[in-house]
Point group: C2
Chain length 209, copies 2
């Protein structure tokens, strides 16, 4: 059923649908119309139907969507049931905060290890996750499945560390360094968390209200 | 020149244009066509012209855009020249990381203080920014201009702290708590950094490549 070449805009709405459906499911909502779903998300019903049509038919005309089924289906499309494996490079303040607080399992990820250069943290654990030395990184990746590397390292080493990881076969990067990383290999995926874009969006809203 | 009711999608592309133009400007590029700008950003030239037309006319047909002028203009629309004032609530690992590493001044923000409940950090400085006690928060806000509050606090206190701040007159929130915050006051702006949405987008890409 799945179409090729789904636009970035549609893909980026999927996690929002998933979040909303999780929330509806937790609240005990069994069935919801595209109209009601859209109202809460500030998206039109027609947009929702168009988005979902990229992946098949999820609802029945006039009956709305079964919340639990739709949540499972969108979770499946997002790969939440794939049990992806992640490691983190950089166990400084940001890495620590994410390991401590981010609910990885809810997004279908298992964090197997974090790596750092500082002897102060190597050998310790954060939220049960071992912090290993960067010297052990290559061996670790050769032995373990690693689908995604989260980068919470200083900007000036980010591209160099990414290059090293790409050579080791890593193809997914969750990039918190606030700089654009690139690779000539089109199979490498960089997902950048741009704090600045978010703050500037807020800046626009408060400057123009 | 400015139109009302500019869509969220257009607003969210503005920081990306700004980021790209900053990068072009730093590289010494003087003039760029909408076609070339679009290629680097994976947006069509027609989309770019449509987006900019929401805010007036920035280029001259056939001559492209003057990079420095366009960067200044978009920065102005985003409020980068407004010198917004920000305080942070929560000086734990995440707050610490952001205060230490995020280039606030490049987005036109000044961070005046951070607040925390822990006596271990109250009275210390991070990157020159004083960490004050939550007991001082109300007085601080009464005396100082605060345009935005960054929330880097635990989820279970997030809505309660937001409510307290709204009563004190705060209208802009940069929310890192990974939960949705809300207010019945439509003038209150919440900008949420959803780490999960980003990781799920990456999950989709690696699951469907």
């Amino acid at each position: 059923m799945k179409k090729e070449n789904i636009s970035d805009a549609v893909i980026r709405r999927l996690p929002r649908y998933y979040r909303q459906l999780n929330s509806l499911y937790s609240s005990g909502v069994v069935r919801i119309s595209s109209h009601s779903l859209g109202q809460e998300m500030k998206i039109t019903a027609s947009q929702i139907r168009q988005d979902f049509s990229c992946f098949g038919e999820f609802g029945q005309q006039g009956y709305g969507y079964n919340v639990e089924e739709l949540r499972t289906e969108i979770g499946h499309i997002l790969g939440v049931d794939k049990n992806h494996h992640l490691i983190m490079i950089g166990a400084g303040n940001l890495g620590h905060a994410i390991l401590q607080n981010f609910p990885f399992s809810q997004t279908g990820f298992t964090v197997d290890a974090a790596f750092d250069v500082s002897p102060c943290v190597v050998g310790t654990y954060i939220n049960g996750i071992p912090i290993r030395s960067m010297d052990e990184l290559d061996d670790f990746i050769r032995i373990h499945t690693v689908d995604v590397v989260a980068l919470t390292i200083p900007q000036h080493v980010a591209q160099e560390v990414a290059n090293r990881l790409i050579v080791l076969g890593i193809r997914g990067f969750w990039n918190f360094t606030n700089i654009e990383l690139s690779s000539s290999d089109p199979t490498v995926q960089f997902e950048n968390i741009h704090f600045a874009d978010s703050l500037l969006t807020l800046s626009y809203r408060i400057a123009n209200r």
